[in-house]
Symmetry: C2
Subunit: 423 residues, 2 copies
């Protein structure tokens, strides 16, 4: 009797990458390798779902165990990511047909998609291919996003490490400003990510703790910016402490509802200039209070900073990858492994199952009671939520003073389809 060849798996990374998304990839691949009777090979999409559409698959089996293990401590997306959202079946049947062609050609029966809210939507659509187009597939979403805005899961892998980076950096810069404040800088401003929700900005509040109090003022995207209120508070904190650190979310909006960063700046030639929100806030401090300031924009540094990743985050990122494979092996489809907080003190968590149709296209906003009454800080409840997520250090290995991050060979799987596909 001929042995049935086990189905292969497709894995892809989607959207903005993080310090720990590769830890999830590591969890997927290492777990799949333990079940070769059920999962044949793991093919990764080069540049996310685009790799599936263009039949540009990477054979992860050509990577040795050591390289795959090193993914756990390597930031970024090892197979390339993309910003590409599949349209609905009605709108673009062509893409789904192509996916099925590619999956069929490469005997793919498992689909692991590692991303945020938009990606969950793509994953859900793929999970329905069995029903809608008669192609048998099990699609499991692997959660990832620094924005921490996926529903059901208590938190999102990727967020904890950004939170830790921002908390640590804000504390360090605050120590710096405090030393300089007597004769120089009194206001330090750091711009952080989070266009829609203030989760990352909130993490700046962790810079201050009971044993190390620091005057931190947070500007959340959830709170409409009021220049006078802000300036008054800066003035008060500088008078009281000698200095203040301002954590400003890139998504802060002014009274007219426009992004505060969008100030209609023009250069000497009248060209429109795109700037960040930090210099805008800094200029207000200068104009209204004439205080010396410094500002930083963390940008990609915050989400790539594997060197200061949260151990909790790394463990959870690995766990959701591992559990995604286990769920597939149990026959699940259209689900996502979610993190469930079991207790806060001590912090305990486990993985449970979330139905994907409850995840896709739902954005989890920060609860109102996480922001202090005055709109400039975090509450005890917020602090209790955030604190365990940044706990623990998980340093990468170093050589000659630099972290040793792995670059995979990323060898292509031989194409089997006769025609190309344009995306």
């Amino acid at each position: 009797m001929p042995k049935i060849k086990p189905k292969n798996a497709f894995y892809a990374q989607s959207g903005g990458v993080t310090a720990v998304i590769n830890a999830s990839a590591c969890g997927v691949i290492e777990t799949a390798r333990k079940h070769k009777n059920k999962i044949g090979r793991v093919y990764a999409g080069r540049n996310g779902i685009i790799g599936a559409l263009t039949e540009d698959l990477i054979d992860t089996n050509r990577e040795n165990a050591r390289s795959i293990a090193a993914l756990r401590h390597t930031p970024s997306g090892a197979f390339g990511s993309c910003r590409y959202k599949l349209k609905s079946l009605e709108e673009n049947r062509r893409e789904y047909q192509r996916l099925i062609e590619v999956f069929e050609a490469h005997n793919i029966g498992y689909f692991f998609y590692n991303g945020g809210g938009d990606s969950a939507d793509t994953c859900l659509k793929v999970s329905q291919l069995s029903e809608t187009m008669g192609y048998p597939i099990q699609a499991i979403h692997v959660p990832k996003t620094v924005d921490n805005d996926l529903p059901i899961t208590d938190n999102c892998p990727g967020f904890g490490s950004v939170a830790k980076y921002i908390a640590v950096s804000t504390r360090e810069a605050s120590f710096d400003v405090a030393s300089m404040a007597k004769t120089s800088t009194k206001v330090f401003i750091i711009e952080v990510m989070g266009r829609h929700a203030g989760w990352i900005a909130a993490a700046g509040g962790l810079a201050s703790s009971e044993d190390t109090p620091i005057p931190v003022l947070i500007l959340f995207p959830e709170v409409r910016f009021d220049r006078q209120k802000f300036i008054d508070r800066v003035d008060q904190l500088v008078k009281q402490h000698g200095y203040v650190s301002v954590v400003v979310s890139e998504g802060v909006k002014g009274p007219e509802g426009r992004f505060l960063s969008d100030q209609g700046l023009t250069d000497a030639f009248g060209h429109a200039q795109l700037g960040g929100v930090a210099p805008v806030v800094a200029n207000m401090v200068k104009q209204d209070l004439d205080l010396k300031y410094h500002w930083a924009v963390a940008d990609y540094l915050q989400r790539a900073a594997r060197h200061i990743a949260s151990k909790t985050d790394v463990e959870q990122a690995y766990a959701v990858g591992r559990e995604a494979v286990r769920l597939a092996l149990k026959g699940h489809n259209a689900v996502m492994p979610a993190i469930k907080r079991v207790s806060n003190k001590p912090y305990r968590w486990k993985i449970e199952l979330a139905p994907l149709d409850k995840v896709a296209n739902v954005e989890k906003m920060m609860p109102k009671n996480f922001i202090s009454r005055d709109g400039f800080g975090i509450t005890r409840r917020c602090r209790d939520y955030l604190a365990p997520l940044i706990r623990g250090e998980d340093y990468p290995p170093y050589a000659n003073g630099m972290p040793r991050y792995v670059r995979l060979k990323n060898l292509p799987v031989k194409k089997k389809l006769p025609h190309k596909f344009e995306v």
Copy 2:
């Protein structure tokens, strides 16, 4: 026969602080404590030399050994720093007289000044008080500056840690951009410190190494910016690698000799706006090549980042503090402990003595042969110089996911002088 009371020491931090200046303080205080027969108490100036002028002294003897030891892993200036340069004796005799009054009142015979070029000048002036004003003092300069621009010493404590931070951050962000480049960001720009010399920008070049090559393009303050040449190179690198990371020094100047960051930006109301150089460069990339970009400004994060300090740097910072005290005990005046590179492979260094009049007001520029012929990169020689300075990790202790940095009690020494002094 009455025992002669040993002279006390004055220690102060000056100018911009660093991730490791407190390690030098730790070296000074721990070493002084081992020689109580020669050095009575160590008094620190609150906010640098201003503390001496205003008789605002901190009694470091009131801090326990554990707190002093913790200075070694705490960034910033624990006693406060200042930007304040003593004028010449001819211009402001009043200040020198005041210093002598304060020193005399507190039996101070040793002066340890921890700073960069300007501070070396102040220290030199103080060292001459014995000669010029008949007050016996031994003044030793303790080198510190992220700018790495002090002469004689092979490198400056503080620089190695910034260099490591920039090299690591640039590598991490480059991994991030490489993952996104297919459908999103292709150019990442990071702005770094160094208004006069490109030492810190050069460190960005370490992001790329033989085992991890990365297309890094550096804009040095030493090289006059040429927009077309820059844009052509960005275009070429993106075509070749799919992405590029640009490290731009805040000190880059355009063809007219003006800082590139000074673009005459005005907001919607016509107010002049102060911005960084990173967004200026980003806008050029947008205008000329229409490539998607991201930009970061590291600002204080880079010099406060004790969490990723270079072990070499921490050891050297401690050593110059320790050696400053030893030099004082040997009877030296007007000197600075300097780092001498003994060999490169393996890296070995020792401390030797530099006469302060050869240090003060001399700026060490980056050698021309450290910058590659095209002006956008570093040479092998530069790499060999920089590499050992970022070597080794020296992590601070953590509690609940955050670094435990010490805050001293900083208790004041009782004032003895009848009148106040305005600075």
